[in-house]
Assembly symmetry: C2
Homo-oligomer: 269 residues x 2
């Protein structure tokens, strides 16, 4: 199925309503003295905060109330099956490490998918007050009530590219080798922005994003957003990336091909 124009308007408005509900919870705890973190994994540091769980519950409540037959895949709670053919893919706080550090570059990710993957994607940064929205009709950033159209950069060569990644913190040794082979050819490499870097790619400021070890809820919204802004999104094998794992986001087909040529030997899955 493909979403109709009225589907897109309705689903996008609902996604914005859900993001508003999530923001109440994320902002209630951001930089708060009460912020506690515990470990989801026995190795490494992956904090889950009260805010994370409350924000996902808020998003689910909005979606389930309006569309009880949609499927929901989230980070914090068990997945919910649906009958409508529409799936919501949500990460209440992408970048929890940044969130607990006080950096305002975490985001709430909300995607709406059909059988072909994510079609609508929101990356919401409520502390700064920026909402990046991608749909089949295009991409915009909403800030201070104004809509600013988004489009990827025209950058075609690695040598001219600004590359962002959550690396060096994420990925296997092999993935890191592949990443570094791309990175050493780029004009500039920066780390630590999580989903915010994906939004900046849609906005034309960043040219290339390379990630690994992602979950499906990490990638749905960024993929829809970047594609809506004219960019390319695949995994390191050049296939659909919305199941998670390895990710390439690129501003142009040439830039995507240049990165893919280097990363393909390190592709898995």
């Amino acid at each position: 199925m493909a979403f109709s124009t009225s589907d897109i308007a309705h689903l996008t408005a609902l996604a914005c309503q859900a993001a508003d509900a999530a923001a109440v919870e994320t902002l209630r705890h951001f930089r708060g003295a009460d912020l506690s973190a515990d470990n989801k994994r026995t190795s490494g540091f992956d904090p889950v905060t009260v805010a994370d769980r409350a924000a996902e519950a808020a998003i689910r409540a909005v979606v389930e109330d309006a569309r009880p037959n949609d499927a929901i895949l989230g980070e914090e709670e068990a997945g919910k099956a649906g009958t409508s053919g529409v799936q919501w893919v949500i990460d209440p706080i992408d970048g929890t490490r940044g969130y607990i550090s006080g950096t305002p570059t975490w985001g709430t990710l909300i995607a709406v998918s059909d059988d072909d993957g994510p079609q609508i994607g929101l990356v919401d940064q409520p502390y700064i007050g920026e909402r990046f929205i991608g749909t089949p009709d295009g991409a915009v950033m909403v800030r201070h009530g104004a809509e600013i159209p988004l489009a990827v950069s025209p950058t075609r060569a690695l040598e001219d590219a600004i590359l962002f990644s959550t690396f060096p913190e994420v990925g296997s040794q092999g993935e890191r080798t592949g990443f570094e082979a791309v990175a050493q050819r780029c004009k500039l490499v920066r780390f630590g922005m999580d989903c915010y870097a994906h939004a900046l790619l849609a906005a034309g400021h960043v040219d290339l994003v390379i990630e690994a070890g992602l979950a499906p809820y990490d990638v749905g919204a960024p993929i829809a957003l970047v594609k809506a802004a004219g960019g390319i999104a695949t995994n390191w094998a050049g296939d659909d990336a919305h199941h998670g794992g390895q990710l390439i986001l690129a501003a142009t087909p040439d830039l995507h091909r240049a990165a893919l040529d280097i990363l393909r030997p390190f592709a898995h899955g």
Copy 2:
């Protein structure tokens, strides 16, 4: 000389006025299509933008008009000698790499020093709308017209610490070895926030910052801000850090000592 209470009020107000003038220039070009970058150094990538130069000129104009006898040390123009015993230390855009990438974690740094080093420090992030101010009277963040008092965290052990750095991009191999020896003991390590991480340390969200290869104009404002919020600032030898080079910012004396013990063998200068 030490600043009197009325000196502090006057100089802080003037620093805020200068930051306002700089913000007009930095925001005029931030995320603009006209943003051009050229290389200051033959090796590496250190963009200088039109905004950088215009913002420094704006700060200097405010300071020179009000206090013609003060010395000025900035990033973009030649230093100016003074006769008053007061020196302004300014970096119009700290984090130019982040600035040209569209990330809102660059800052305008303005410090006011006496013979003992920086006493007043501003870290201004005008896109987000946050101004971090440290003086001998304390530290605050101003946002949406409200003043929020700042204080460093009580974190005493590396194992409980959130560490930020511009590393892995900056520093010699030896410095990197020292940094990594500290990093592997910390709870969480994040990169790429430039001066914004220093402000988050003053605000109690980040516990430790380790940097190297800094210029005097990079460190003046952060040092004054972090000290005003109750933190410690030295170089890797445990001495005054305001001449630039290697920097440790720590929330508590215990945490500072733990980092210093590891970094001291890598100290130079």
